[in-house]
């Protein structure tokens, strides 16, 4: 990105989301797109997080509630399956955990520093009191 001084600023600015010609974006998945440096997809807000969501695919029923309610496009779903979390764009709001309907939940919030393998090993078991 070119650094411009105050006097060099243009009155309006045009930012291109993609490098080169972009066609049929509505049917092109994120991994197939040619993002430009001025697309916020290339940036990260990972440092906003205090807690991170951890995904346990053993209990996931692919209901996609987390996908539709994620404000930050951080739930990656491909072929109707939830396959993971985009940790560059997740702000750690916790909506995905709240909307997860499984018992036990297949998404839970943990401290940012905690180790994912030990979290998955100590995943809570089914809560029998909850229906």
């Amino acid at each position: 990105m070119q650094d411009n001084g105050w006097n060099d600023f243009e009155i309006g600015s045009l930012l291109r989301s993609f490098n080169g010609k972009a066609e049929n974006i509505a049917t092109t998945l994120q991994e197939d797109r040619n993002y430009s440096n001025s697309n916020s997809f290339t940036a990260s807000v990972a440092d906003w997080r205090i807690e991170k969501p951890v995904f346990n695919k053993d209990f996931c029923i692919d209901c996609q509630f987390c996908w539709v309610y994620c404000p930050d496009i951080s739930i990656i779903s491909r072929d109707k399956k939830m396959i993971g979390i985009d940790m560059d764009h997740c702000k750690g709001c916790g909506i995905c955990v709240e909307v997860c309907p499984t018992n036990p939940k297949s998404l839970l919030m943990y401290g940012e520093h905690e180790d994912e393998e030990s979290i998955l090993a100590a995943w809570p078991s089914k809560d029998k009191e909850k229906k």
Binding site: T27, S40, P71, D72, G92
Partner: protein
């Protein structure tokens, strides 16, 4: 007329390729981006978008980044709708003259907050609707000027504490009730006007598709729960939205051709308004003895409004 995207269930919907990107600067748990995603994913058509000044605009277009993967423009606070209307008029003119380089039929959508729609941009929206542009205006209704620190707008409901109508020992906060923007826009003779909420995604997608495929200017009022100004925890966005729709506080309905009103969501278990009010910091003063009368006032008003909607639906006028 382009083909309507088939979305039978949430699994179908989840195959959509998002045209709104992460690492925007909206607050964690903001409903704005949930709404924007549901709107953009409801169609596969090309889109010409605009956003009026507000949270959505300042957070998704911070130089040198943009979060939009479709043509998007921002000009001023009031004229987001007019910018899109101008593009639509140009497209129509070029098409009539046969000078379009590619024969594509994009959809024209303007996004604006409640401040930019109910107050500041009202004249411009009214103009667009009067001229009959083939566009859709989506209001992200968070009932406050959240971008500038929570000043009241004409969408702020009665009893809510905002920075320009604070609650205290002498005041219960905002004194006036929310403007009925849906009725105003329906009175413009719009072919489709609807009130939607992001937690009812299917309802929302249906409304957006119907709005996009109607001929003429259409208006969508989407409830956007604001974690910062409504004062609740970021993870509760969907829970709060559920409370609002299930207690009839934010009824979901559509008005077709300015006349036929259909209620599009009827909650099975109707909740009392207390639960919705108690869940948010902006209403917490209403639970003091001094202002308890306001809760009854809320319940009566919400019930009367629901009764009115049902009567109107039945009467088909």
């Amino acid at each position: 007329m382009s083909e309507i995207k088939k979305i039978k269930n949430l699994k179908d919907f989840s195959t959509s390729a998002d045209r709104f990107e992460g690492a925007n600067l909206l607050c964690p748990g903001c409903a704005h981006s949930i709404i924007v995603r549901e709107v953009l994913n409801a169609t596969n058509d090309d889109l010409i978008l605009s956003a009026s000044t507000g949270c959505l605009e300042v957070c998704t277009a911070v130089y040198p980044y943009t979060s939009w993967d479709a043509s998007w423009v921002h000009i001023g606070f009031e004229n987001g709708s007019t910018a899109v209307a101008g593009a639509e008029a140009m497209h129509k003119a070029l098409k009539t003259k046969g000078r379009l380089k590619q024969d594509r039929d994009p959809k024209f959508v303007s996004f604006a907050g409640d401040g930019a729609s109910y107050d500041i941009g009202f004249q411009w929206i009214s103009g667009c609707f009067e001229r009959g542009h083939n566009m859709m205006h989506v209001v992200l209704d968070n009932e406050v000027y959240a971008n500038t620190g929570g000043q009241r707008s004409s969408s702020t409901p009665i009893g809510s504490s905002a920075t320009t109508s604070p609650a205290g020992s002498h005041s219960y906060g905002e004194k006036r009730n929310k403007k009925d923007m849906i009725a105003i826009m329906a009175a413009h003779g719009s072919p489709y006007v609807a009130q939607v909420a992001p937690n009812k995604w299917k309802n929302m997608v249906k409304a957006i598709q119907q709005g996009l495929n109607a001929e003429g200017p259409t208006f969508i009022n989407a409830m956007s729960a604001c974690t910062t100004e409504w004062k609740f925890a970021p993870e509760d966005t969907i829970a709060i939205s559920d409370l609002a729709t299930d207690s009839h506080i934010f009824p979901l309905y559509e008005i077709i051709d300015g006349k036929q009103l259909n209620i599009t969501y009827r909650p099975k278990n109707v909740l009392p308004v207390d639960e919705y009010l108690a869940a948010q910091g902006r209403f917490k003063h209403l639970f003091k003895d001094q202002y308890k009368f306001m809760i009854k006032e809320w319940q009566d008003r919400v019930d009367a409004n629901w009764e009115y909607l049902q009567r109107r639906e039945e009467a088909k006028v």
